[in-house]
């Protein structure tokens, strides 16, 4: 899922300085899984905002609402009946959600409460790790299911660099060398011959490097 980090309370309070009536929108998908913007976290942030303002002797009204997703029209539409009552929308969704809400409610200021970071997986409750960079041209079949783009700090495509030491990356001693992981895995799968197959220079145009992307399925369009 998309993993994000909550912005600091200080930063959020600064963004909310001019406002007294806030619609706080959570999202029931990715940000719920990584415990940063789901119903619980909406409750906690709303509480923090009220406490912080009350401490200064100031008022704030926070409406807590968690939508199923903020990346689909139908769900964002659900706040239409009452969105006019609020001065600002503070969204805890990923960047995609925040932007979609802003696109829908053009006359409203929409603020981000989280910093969207990576596409990742849950290692254990409370720990999330990056696994995919959305490069648009998956090579996982050639590397035993481990991504050289996301898991190698330099996104090398044909083996480790000189900085790989004892299976760790020179960038961070806690970070596994992506290519060490790939080689180990290819050995396990008895596919070490794949290591000898050269992956050619990557065409980055299907990645973000080629500009904002779009995907269309004509057969689904009404």
């Amino acid at each position: 899922m998309i993993v994000a980090n909550r912005k600091s309370l200080e930063e959020i309070l600064t963004m909310l300085k001019p406002y007294k009536k806030v619609l706080l929108l959570g999202c029931n998908e990715c940000v719920t899984v990584c415990a940063v913007g789901g119903e619980r976290e909406v409750g906690v942030l709303a509480s923090e905002l009220r406490l912080a303002r009350a401490k200064e002797g100031e008022e704030i009204e926070v409406r807590e609402q968690t939508l199923e997703r903020q990346c689909d029209h139908e769900y964002i539409d659900q706040v239409r009946p009452f969105v006019g009552d609020y001065e600002v929308i503070l969204s805890m969704a990923c960047g995609a959600g925040v932007q979609y809400v802003a696109e829908k409610y053009r006359s409203k200021v929409v603020l981000p409460a989280v910093n969207t970071t990576f596409l990742g997986v849950t290692l254990e409750q409370g720990v999330w790790l990056e696994r995919c960079q959305g490069c648009g041209e998956c090579v996982l079949h050639m590397t035993g299911g481990i991504c050289p783009v996301a898991r190698c700090a330099k996104s090398l495509l044909n083996g480790p660099c000189g900085g790989s030491s004892n299976g760790k990356c020179e960038v961070d001693k806690e970070l596994d060398c992506g290519w060490q992981l790939i080689i180990d895995r290819l050995k396990e799968l008895d596919q070490l011959d794949r290591y000898e197959e050269i992956i050619p220079v990557k065409d980055w145009t299907p990645a973000r490097d080629g500009g904002p992307r779009k995907r269309i399925r004509e057969d689904l369009r009404l």
Partner: protein, 119 residues
């Protein structure tokens, strides 16, 4: 044992401190309480195995939130005691009351105004 403890301590009974959610603690402070403490089983002796350890982590987390908000982490504490330790219960009640008395009333306290607490 009929030991007395300060009257300003309001007890909320839970089956295990692991039941205490961070939102419960935050909402308590929102409603104007001056301090909150959790009294859980002795570590290693949680009736539900690890509930008191979860509570300990949550208390640490909320202490951080309270610092951010400006209320200060001193208003929230975790204590451990066995249910047989009546003396300790009273002692902790007195200790926490004194601690909060020194810190003073909560800056978010509003006299008689509970209308802002959202359920």
């Amino acid at each position: 044992m009929r030991l007395s403890y300060p009257t300003n301590v309001k007890i909320v009974k839970v089956p295990c401190t692991g039941r205490v959610d961070i939102l419960l603690i935050l909402r308590a402070f929102e409603s104007g309480v001056d301090g909150v403490y959790l009294a859980g089983c002795l570590e290693g002796e949680c009736h539900f195995l690890r509930g008191n350890l979860r509570a300990k982590k949550r208390v640490q987390y909320v202490k951080g939130l309270l610092e951010e908000v400006g209320l200060g982490s001193g208003r929230l504490e975790m204590y451990n005691m066995s249910s047989a330790q009546g003396q300790r219960f009273a002692e902790v009640a007195r200790e926490m009351t004194e601690k909060i008395r020194v810190l003073g009333p909560s800056p978010v306290k509003r006299r008689g105004d509970r209308s802002k607490v959202k359920g």
